[in-house]
Amino acid sequence: MSIVVENLTKIYGQQRAVSDISFTVNKGEILGFLGPNGAGKSTTMKIATGYLIPDAGQVIVAGEDIVQQTRAAQRKIGYLPEHNPLYLDMYVHEFLQFSARTYQMSKPTARIAEVIEQCGLTREQNKKLGQLSKGYRQRVGLAHALLHEPEVLILDEPTTGLDPNQILEIRKLIKEVSRDKTVIFSSHIMQEVQALCDRVVLINKGEIIANQSIADFSKGLQTEAVLRVEFKQAIDVSVLEGLDVLTKVTHQQDGHYKVHAANSEEARSAIFKLAAEQNLPLVGLQEEGDSLEDIFHQLTQES
């Protein structure tokens, strides 16, 4: 087991930021750490990297207790903090050299060239960090987290604030570099976790709500399909309600309806048939966004 978090508690004043959480990450696994903002993700990560000290419980990273053997554990961690703070007046090379020195790497030049190449920074390597776009800064952040070949990568919301293309690039990069590493990856975006991770820990208000493999997690979520149906004019709701395959119908405005069904495909064909038979002009039929998001919303609102 590469990372063991046991009964971890952190209290800020009156507020329990993290409340008695426990989970483990196996070697080579990518763990998605999911939760709304303020759920305690960053606090947990800050404790795991030795930046904060927990009020109770312990974190063991690659066999080293982060509180007792802080330096030894920190040597094995690559950390990308939230918002990716960097020394903006440094050059890319200078920053990586500084990083290498903090890890007392003896001959860093070759390794620096390697991570620059790996993180796609070759063209930007002679620029100042302040001149780089956010996406490239994030690559520098990843490069310095990887530099000392850590066993464990801790990435705190690495894709926040990036544009959609950059998000895809960074995700791809994370996927590539994490092949032989243990990774904790925090996010508040469901699809991202689904795309990257083997397992999910869902946390809210400092407590763990779910800790499952990504397959189980998604399966548990896809209980019901939600469809948006749009007719040219408003129709009688009872017409739609008459369809057996639909479990619930709500009229929203004009010709817009929101329907729930157990099976999306059956429901869609049934609605289409109904429209054709009764000669109702159907102008839109769309499966609603992500039931994942809905469930995430539900889970984090209830508790």
Binding site: Y12, K46, T49, G50, Y51, L52, I53, T70, R71, A72, Q74, R75, I77, Y79, P81, H83, P85, L86, Y87, L88, D89, M90, E94, F98, S99, R101, T102, Y103, Q104
Partner: protein
């Protein structure tokens, strides 16, 4: 320690802070020693360096906080302290790296004043008619005083994320410790403890050194103040872990 030291030195050099500090220090001292009639050696007519050693501390009192104010305050404001404290370095490594970088800058700004020393030495009649031991003692005192001011600046920078606050606090603490305590001791309410108050002030020990008397107790005083300040800095920085 080495990593942080190099980083800070590079940052001084790249941001021009180093050049500005050295240039301002030398220009100010140069004007006071050679140009301004009230304090000029040429007007005064005696071959001694007392202008440098009497006014240098006041110049340092403003210049040193200006170079130390960003040390921790800026790291906190930009969040880069999280980068520092999650590396396998102790708080002492980080503090010493920054402290030494600041101290090296002080040494670099004092070093060119040896040229002034040489000039005064040559101007004496006969040549070399200058209190050498007093001057050497004063130089040691000035460097130690610079060391104390840097440690105060490092501490002030650690207690806030605002550079202006760090600057003002550092100037104030430097002033109180330099001559404020001695001036307080002059009030006639302390009785026997007036002497203790006086001995706590820098100017008491600085004055002793500048007479050319290098007493171990004075050296120990300066080193202890530096030690206490850096230790307080460590306490302040460690406190974040428990917050």
């Amino acid at each position: 320690m080495f990593a942080v030291f190099i980083k800070e030195i590079n940052s001084f050099l790249n941001s021009l802070i180093a050049y500005i500090v050295i240039a301002v220090f030398l220009t100010t001292i140069g004007l006071l020693m050679w140009v301004f009639p009230e304090s000029s050696i040429l007007e005064y007519g005696y071959a001694d360096m007392s202008t440098l050693f009497n006014l240098g501390p006041y110049v340092f009192m403003f210049l040193i906080p200006a170079i130390t104010m960003r040390f921790f305050a800026e790291e906190k404001r930009t969040g880069t302290n999280e980068l520092l404290f999650t590396r396998p370095m102790t708080a002492i490594d980080i503090i010493m790296g920054k402290y030494l970088a600041g101290f090296v800058l002080v040494v670099l700004s004092v070093l060119p004043t040896l040229l002034y020393f040489y000039s005064v030495y040559q101007l004496g009649k006969p040549v070399g008619n200058l209190d050498i031991s007093g001057t050497v003692g004063s130089y040691i005192g000035l460097l130690l005083l610079g060391g104390v001011f840097v440690s105060i600046g490092v501490f002030a920078s650690a207690i806030t994320d605002n550079q202006v606050v760090a600057f003002v606090v550092a100037v104030f603490l430097s002033f109180v410790l330099y001559s404020g305590l001695e001036s307080l001791a002059a009030i006639d309410i302390w009785g026997a403890s007036a002497l203790i108050l006086q001995q706590l002030s820098i100017v008491f020990h600085y004055g002793a050194l500048s007479r050319g008397l290098i007493d171990m107790s004075d050296i120990v005083y300066f080193l202890s103040v530096i030690g206490v300040m850096l230790l307080l800095t460590k306490l302040v920085l460690d406190a974040r872990k428990w917050s």
